[in-house]
């Protein structure tokens, strides 16, 4: 009985999530948002169990998977079980991540940055803007422009897509990857997983 119950729960979850996704795919942005949020909860658990040794990386990888789900959404067919589709994406990204992580580990041991003693000074706010400009300058255009337009100028994704000629998916990917790259630049580490 216990087993039947838990299967019922899984089944119900699948149906709910699938309904949200299908509504999202037909243009209902609220349903799509709800789908991604619910999916994020499940995925977080899934990834946490598999990355037990590196809990700090879970959120990072979760975002990669969400981005991948978003970019692959055209390939979902209603007759396919949603679980199988999502799991294939999550597993693919997990394996890809572990491989990259392995390569990075063997190349150089990453040092924990613990030198923020002198980082904060009075000039910091004044320099922030100039430094941000400098950091942004190091990003490739497909990441810099989306961040400048959406995050600094407050334009919408669609407007940015129109101005830059990128697809709106590319704008979203650019913002996400660009912000990650900025965070890395600010930390001063040089992991080159930015691809």
């Amino acid at each position: 009985m216990q087993r039947n119950n838990s299967q019922d729960v899984l089944c119900e979850r699948e149906t709910q999530l699938q309904a949200l996704l299908l509504r999202g795919l037909s243009g209902d942005a609220r349903a799509y948002r709800e789908f991604l949020a619910a999916l994020a909860l499940h995925l977080r658990g899934f990834l946490r169990r598999r990355l037990a040794q590196r809990p700090a990386e879970v959120e990072d990888l979760l975002q990669e998977v969400l981005l991948a789900v978003h970019n692959a959404r055209e390939t979902y067919q209603p007759q396919q079980p949603l679980t199988a589709w999502v799991q294939a994406i999550a597993r693919y990204k997990l394996v890809d991540y572990l491989r990259r992580y392995g390569q990075r580990e063997t190349r150089h041991e990453s040092l924990e940055e613990d030198s923020d003693l002198f980082a904060a000074s009075d000039e910091a706010p004044a320099e922030a803007r100039r430094d941000l400009g400098k950091l942004l300058g190091q990003l490739p255009e497909r990441q810099r422009l989306p961040i400048v337009h959406v995050k600094l100028e407050g334009l919408s994704v669609e407007e940015t897509a129109r101005i830059t000629g990128l697809s709106s998916s590319a704008v979203k990917v650019g913002i996400h990857r660009g912000l990650k790259a900025l965070a890395r630049l600010i930390r001063g580490s040089d992991d080159d997983e930015n691809r």
């Binding site: 942005a29 799509y32 969400l66 692959a72 390939t75 079980p81 994406i89 996400h176």
Partner: protein, 214 residues
């Protein structure tokens, strides 16, 4: 780093309805573009055989097209399956054995009915040295187009998806090559056509993991 909730907001913002036939459309575009390229290359490099109109009225010409035609359809089926996360090639891989067995059966019958000294001629024809390489060359535009299509989709079994895409490219290129190829013996197709299609398939399997990563 961005917060996950922010990312979700970003991803969900301003999304219109998704085209339900996006995958089919993308593959169709790639296939048509690549086929056009292969046809142009056939005409430009090899020329159309002069007796095409007469040959096209014989059943054996259509039997010859049936081999790459059926493999191209199976390749297309496999490619569109493997372009989706969580869908396996599965039994479709096994179906590839049907046209192979049929052509080898036909070749065996043809060889068995021929005198021993004529058999080599049936297998090697006049163009065995170039056939497989010509097909591989013609498959280049299709290969590029199909891999372009796959890169915009979401394959998770990269080696298999690459092989399926290579098979699709090779088999479709063989169809184009039939406009030129003068060989009309089943044993010839059973060796050199298959080899011509096998090369792009193997290339696809080799390059898939590198070219199709996303």
């Amino acid at each position: 780093m961005m917060k996950t909730d922010e990312l979700i907001d970003l991803l969900a913002s301003g999304e219109g309805p998704v085209d339900r036939h996006a995958l089919a459309r993308r593959l169709a575009q790639a296939l048509l573009g690549g086929l056009l390229g292969a046809l142009l290359l056939t005409v430009a490099l090899y020329g159309v055989r002069s007796d095409l109109a007469e040959v096209a009225r014989t059943p054996v010409f259509w039997a010859k097209l049936a081999l790459p035609g059926s493999l191209a359809l199976l390749g297309l089926w496999l490619t569109q399956r493997l372009a989706r996360p969580g869908v396996k090639g599965g039994a479709v891989w096994g179906l590839l054995g049907v046209p192979l067995l049929l052509v080898w059966l036909g070749a065996a019958i043809s060889l068995a009915g021929a005198p021993v000294e004529a058999r080599a001629e049936l297998v090697f024809g006049r163009t065995w040295r170039t056939c497989a390489l010509n097909i591989t060359l013609l498959s280049a535009p299709l290969f590029v187009a199909v891999f372009w299509a796959l890169r915009g989709l979401a394959p998770t079994r990269l080696r298999q998806a690459g092989a399926a895409g290579g098979l699709l490219a090779g088999a479709t290129a063989t169809l184009a090559y039939c406009l030129h190829c003068p060989e009309m013996e089943v044993p010839f197709w059973g060796v050199w056509y298959l080899l011509g299609m096998l090369l792009p398939t193997a290339l696809g399997a080799a390059l898939g993991p590198r070219l199709l990563r996303w």
